[in-house]
Symmetry: C3
Subunit: 385 residues, 3 copies
């Protein structure tokens, strides 16, 4: 056990993207190529043995995609979170003390840069890029490779924040072993990102208790097309063992997949076309969801621009057998969807018919987010030039 | 805890079907639209907080369907049972006393009214429509929505009976909190349905011990085409954790899905065409099946009309490691399948070659059921006109 | 309990293949066709009640296949192992003493004789063909049936070795109840197979500790096409509850499915075509893999002939929370893949660019295996004529 505390954290450069980037490896594994690997042996070069970087591959199957073959954004989000959970759980257990599990607390805003199709291979690389005393940031990249043509493209980049919870007592937060940075700037930038997300999490905590959309009365006349009520959708999911592989708690990736699913239904019902996830705003995971719970995921349109729809998704959880203990809001987020024609080109989106002050307020807020994101994309573009 | 006993049960009108029926909601959730939801707060209007009604949505995936895109009847049955289980477990836990789980004991005869396809969204609504002291009836409807055209159609209506079993002792049946009826007639009709199914369950209990079809000897010559033996099929399933989300016992919906699967193989082997589930006779769940069991599901043709096939499906369970304790019959049911051409129009079914007295007896019984159902459909039609 | 020890083992002739072979049955079940089955009743003919033979059917779904509809070899291997596990666990529990589970320790070399397609029904028959004191051999056959045309073909034949582990203490190996042989020759041949595999298992145990391929450095220039490094691939899998239905340990079939998956990615990246599993060399399962582990599966090309590729697959396991206890090699094997055109005819495979002595050594070893297998196939062919 003592030798573990000796394991120095390493400096992790994000891998460069090459034209024919071969990404299939796992830096955490032993690297002595042609000699016998001894158990428990520590490498001379400590940076080679820490688990702060990993890669994974997965073939996309028909069940991962919609009817025209586009892999659901939720599947990509789930892959991203799986990689983040493995790399951060592994890293946090290189310390002495209680064994622990890394629990997702936040995903930064992420964009789906190009669609992924059935039969393509997703390459997921995850790397720990910042550690504070009690949390760590993992940056994850998803490359999609067409193994028939060899073509590769960047499908998604995401940043996730994890917190290590003790296995003995899930409410006890453990300390995170520090990583080594390549230089001071790298650490400084990480610290800025850490402070920024901390602020935002506190901010949304205030908003979190917002009410579930009112259930339409079955006696009401049918909703008019293109209204918020027309496309609003709710799905219910019983949390089973496959949703909770490492914990007694649902993996964040499972929840995000459900959220994307309901958002996709809302978007398709509004447009009656093929829709895909374009981006997801920062998601905060406020409260854990336990095995055996019923999860209610509700999606409703908040804002529609010429070519995109913003859908607010609210996740509530409750125990099926102890419902009197109350339903609680576990997660909420904004998904942006676009509508595609058969050549995968964006289609115009029907305008949203607003009913009432509340919908108008949400529409304005959505518009503000839309304009802010647009401005940010422009700035980023200029900075890159 | 005390406040729970105050929750009055409510009167639940089944939702009307509108041309563009928007069904996505959940009456059990809090309905205060624009105010902050307090934990544990009971609504002024108690009828809004009981869990006696729910709705769910699910996209149909490639793995849910056969090779021409028709969603398997078994998938629909599983969705129906999931909704029934959630709504009745939730309702039975509004009482004081042991936490309990609703266990499926019977599904009434159900017809598949229109086919569902990959990419469509299934809307499942479940509502408690009758409660006796120890059991409850749940009526479930499945609407299939083509989200590209907006078209909706009724895919299935079913009535399920549940019994609440204590989590502390699965053999202890709990009391069911009563629901409120809109009027006396509604309660009276429910009582009639309750009495009728009780009679039938006792009736079939006598039949349940019927033997498994004899295993063909591998040394025997091959069976002649169109005989019962030719298409008879058996599948084996190891009961895993995903089959038992809430219980240590298999959900009824999982069993029905397996039954539909084997019946579909039998029907396809008889016709060599695309086949779909047309209806399922009342199914009684005689005995529970525990995690870790091996389930043997056998299907055989009993009767064939011009355009339909009746397949008897027998489900036997046994512990893999304690097989000496014996195999037992857990469920049995009759499935009716039809054969479809590429335009989804019914095709004639090859006649069944009967061998032996036993097959003849089963054929006659099947014919009687067929004629009875046909007569009942005519009566229902006339009554509606 | 006493009656169990009376159950005589039976002589099991492998079923003959008929032109229209109807294989759907289960010899372990009671066979009294038209009488009521009594619980715990032992048949007069003991050979009818032992669990030393079984059959199963399963429809192949879209998620089981690659993009052109060929069912993955890994799916077939998983089906084979499931049947082997059921039949041997059942057999080993006909004794008195601890309840036990049969754990896969070895699969003999197996060939994929014809491709299986989505919508076909796989018929799996498993039979115990030899028992030593502590292990048993199960022979499994997979027939693929096109239920639309009625055509059937042999897809795979495999021989698996199991060892019964006590449920009370997984490291305690139980005794295997003996089976009866049709004649002395049958027993003698089984004994030869038993001795041969025992030798080979000891042999590979020496090789097992071989190192994981060195991780490519992300700073390195991209690998040249057709080199070993170019197509080398690694996938990571978190062992969840559905991977461990009967044990706290991964079923061998789950591991084989992952191995086939990674080998398929390696082969497709080398050829950029549709690839299928042609054969799998004998696989030894050296060490068990527990629930909650992370499994790292790495595949790399070792040898390429005109029309086939040999891929070495290495499976390493480690606990995510106790990684300091070390990674260990759980399984390793050689998969042979072929490349197919759109008419399912074999295509030429691009030659492999060898870099370094180590790759050259592995290439020569692969070539030796290739020539040996070729010679063996010729001998077998001659013997059959």
């Amino acid at each position: 056990m003592a030798e573990d505390s000796d394991r120095a954290a390493e400096s992790c450069q994000p891998p460069k993207r090459h034209k024919s980037y071969v990404c299939l490896y796992f830096r955490g594994c032993k690297s002595e190529s042609d000699s016998t690997t001894r158990r428990g042996k520590t490498s001379e070069n400590a940076s080679e043995t820490t688990g702060s970087f990993m890669e994974n591959v997965k073939i996309m199957r028909p069940d991962d995609a919609n009817i025209v073959g586009n892999v659901h954004g939720g599947i990509i989000l789930k892959l991203i979170e799986e990689a983040g959970c493995i790399v951060s759980t592994r890293h946090c257990n290189t310390q002495n003390g209680d064994r622990c599990l890394a629990v997702l607390v936040r995903v930064e805003k992420t964009e789906f840069l190009s669609p992924v199709f059935i039969g393509e291979v997703a390459h997921v690389t995850a790397e720990i890029t910042y550690t504070s005393k009690h949390s760590l940031e993992v940056q994850v990249k998803v490359m999609a490779e067409n193994i028939l043509t060899g073509a590769k493209k960047l499908a998604n980049k995401a940043a996730l924040w994890y917190v290590p919870c003790s296995l003995q007592n899930v409410d006890k937060i453990m300390e995170v072993p520090p990583i080594k940075y390549a230089n001071e700037d790298q650490e400084e930038e990480g610290k800025k990102r850490y402070e920024a997300q901390k602020m935002e999490r506190l901010d949304t905590k205030a908003r979190i208790e917002e009410a579930v959309p009112p259930p339409p009365n079955p006696e009401d006349p049918p909703k008019e097309q293109c209204t918020v009520g027309f496309s609003q959708s709710t799905l219910i999911h019983l949390v089973g063992p496959s949703d909770c592989i490492l914990h007694q708690y649902v993996h964040g990736g499972v929840t995000m997949k459900l959220m994307d699913e309901v958002a996709g239904i809302v978007a398709a019902r509004h447009c009656n076309t093929n829709v895909v996830t374009a981006s997801v705003d920062a998601i905060n995971f406020h409260r854990k969801i336990k095995k055996g719970c019923v999860v209610t995921v509700t999606g409703r349109l908040t804002f529609v621009s010429n070519k995109s729809m913003e859908i607010e998704v609210l996740v509530d959880a409750s125990s099926l057998t102890e419902e009197e203990k109350g339903k609680y809001r576990a997660v909420s987020a904004f998904f942006t969807f676009i509508s595609l024609d058969k050549f995968n080109k964006p289609l115009p989106v029907p305008p949203l018919k607003i009913e009432g002050e509340e919908e108008q307020r949400r529409f304005e807020e959505g518009k503000a987010r839309y304009l802010q994101n647009k401005a940010k994309r422009l700035t980023d573009k200029e900075r890159q030039q």
